[in-house]
Symmetry: C2
Subunit: 312 residues, 2 copies
């Protein structure tokens, strides 16, 4: 069996079977970040993301800073999705021996600017030779016990919401992503979501991930999906349904979260003012036996597997 | 300027100028691991290492487990060199879409076996598509304040010691490395080194790194260097001086440490019994103005830059 036929999710599930959760580890493999008890009342969050030249970005002097920004921003998005705040990061960089030092300096400038913006610090790293540029950042975060939000915790009756617009990054190549750090903090403090994650694999797949972790099912209302302007344009070009692009897109790094009906009512009343960014109710949590279904005009829509975002 | 003409060390020095050390960070870029205050009396260690196919290993089903072992073991070596114990790790893996799942499972088996052996836990990761296999592991460690040993701290008059044999990994391709975790813990508890690091760039370069961090100079006695059996064989093949291979080798992952003369005398008396592994006194710390010099039969030996281990 090859990796692309198994898929990332199935591979991760298989790995999970080989690992045990040691003492002090509250959440291991299978959420946006790992959660560890460390000291009194504070939890340590730990996440990593890797960007590879030719897959996640093309090399070009112009984009060096953007690549650096994205490499850290995707990690910040993971920490945000747990309700936490970024802390220290280490940067592993693989680069061809003939890489211009000026290019790498711009790349680090992008990392450092993003670190400054989101309150992280670069404390170490490794620089190695590699035929292609590869950046892997590992980021620590912190969160108090009461602010921690996992993927699990959603209950039937909860409402499913997302921030921002969906489907705007169809090739995963956009570098200027904005992790929803401030929005997630506000959400946690004021609306206490029951489950949360960031959207990296597309709404369809990630509602599946959140539902699996929470052992629930979900209804998604296609008509309610907020379509990113880029997805509108892309849909016109492909003569496709923009709502379907919003459903199956990926790498938006928006927040997907489940809230109680009363918190949902407060979100609906506050609208954009709730978090300072557009928010949309996209569905509901239902019992697990119901599965995950997408509705359009009262009918169940079949989602083509071929349309769904895949890392492999 | 290209990376290979600048070199890794100069590049890191350049990066360091752009970073500031935030509150709570005791040691940032420039040691084996970063050190952060977290909770009462305990310190958090944080390190990362990246292995790239074709540079650090060749792919082959036979070696998958060994690659996984090495990917974690090099991080454990960093934590050991700070006097600490490994804790949680995250694994970023880049792999071609057509990689056999059985290969990746063996690779993770290698990581998990090494984790079990050295007391680490794999708590998360990222799996992405990449034209070549790349593994980047970030490992946390812990150490009490009194056990922390940095690269800085060596003083003139201290003795320089190493564990094991040197020059045995001339191409950096050996997968079965043994991080000196138990040895480092024993050393810290019983002999309290003033400065310590692991040997990844070769003795010559790393004595330079330790001396720079400690703002001291050093004398290395070529005749005292413990030569690894592989280096003896390699020297015969190349008709080279095995002691020079021991001086300029790299990736041995042995410990290099400076101890007070009295601790040095105790080490000399105990010999192999001190740490349960061969130890050798290889030099002395001298004032900074003296620089770093290698002696053989009372004369200063010139070290050819071309012979020195380089990552780029």
């Amino acid at each position: 069996m090859r990796l692309h036929s198994m898929g990332e999710q199935a591979f991760i599930e298989r790995l999970k079977r080989h690992t045990s959760r040691p003492r002090g580890v509250i959440q291991g493999i299978g959420d946006d970040a790992a959660v560890m008890a460390w000291g009194h009342g504070r939890l340590l969050l730990f996440t990593t993301d890797m960007l590879v030249e030719g897959v996640h970005f093309r090399r070009g002097e112009r984009d060096a800073e953007g690549i650096g920004h994205k490499a850290l921003a995707v990690c910040v998005s993971d920490i945000a999705a747990m309700g936490g705040r970024p802390r220290e990061a280490v940067v592993s960089l693989g680069a061809p021996a003939d890489t211009r030092v000026s290019f790498l300096e711009l790349l680090y400038k992008g990392i450092l600017k993003a670190a400054h913006r989101y309150g992280a610090s670069i404390v170490g790293g490794d620089t190695v030779r590699s035929p292609r540029l590869v950046i892997s950042i590992a980021l620590l975060g912190e969160v108090s016990k009461k602010d921690l939000i996992l993927r699990k915790g959603a209950r039937p009756g909860d409402e499913l919401w997302v921030t921002g617009g969906l489907g705007g990054n169809p090739k995963g190549r956009i570098l200027k992503i904005t992790p929803r750090l401030a929005e997630a903090r506000r959400l946690v403090k004021k609306f206490r979501p029951r489950a949360m994650m960031d959207l990296s694999d597309g709404l369809w797949t990630d509602v599946g991930n959140l539902s699996r972790a929470s052992r629930v099912g979900a209804r998604i209302y296609l008509g309610h999906l907020p379509v990113h302007p880029f997805a509108v344009r892309e849909a016109r070009r492909l003569k496709a349904d923009p709502k379907m692009l919003a459903l199956t897109g990926g790498e938006e790094f928006e927040l997907l979260f489940a809230v109680s009906p009363s918190a949902g009512a407060r979100l609906a009343r506050a609208g954009r003012r709730a978090l300072g960014v557009k928010i949309s109710k996209v569905g509901e949590i239902v019992p697990r036996s119901f599965g995950i279904k997408v509705y359009a005009k009262g009918c169940v829509v079949k989602v083509k597997e071929s349309a769904v975002w895949k890392h492999f």
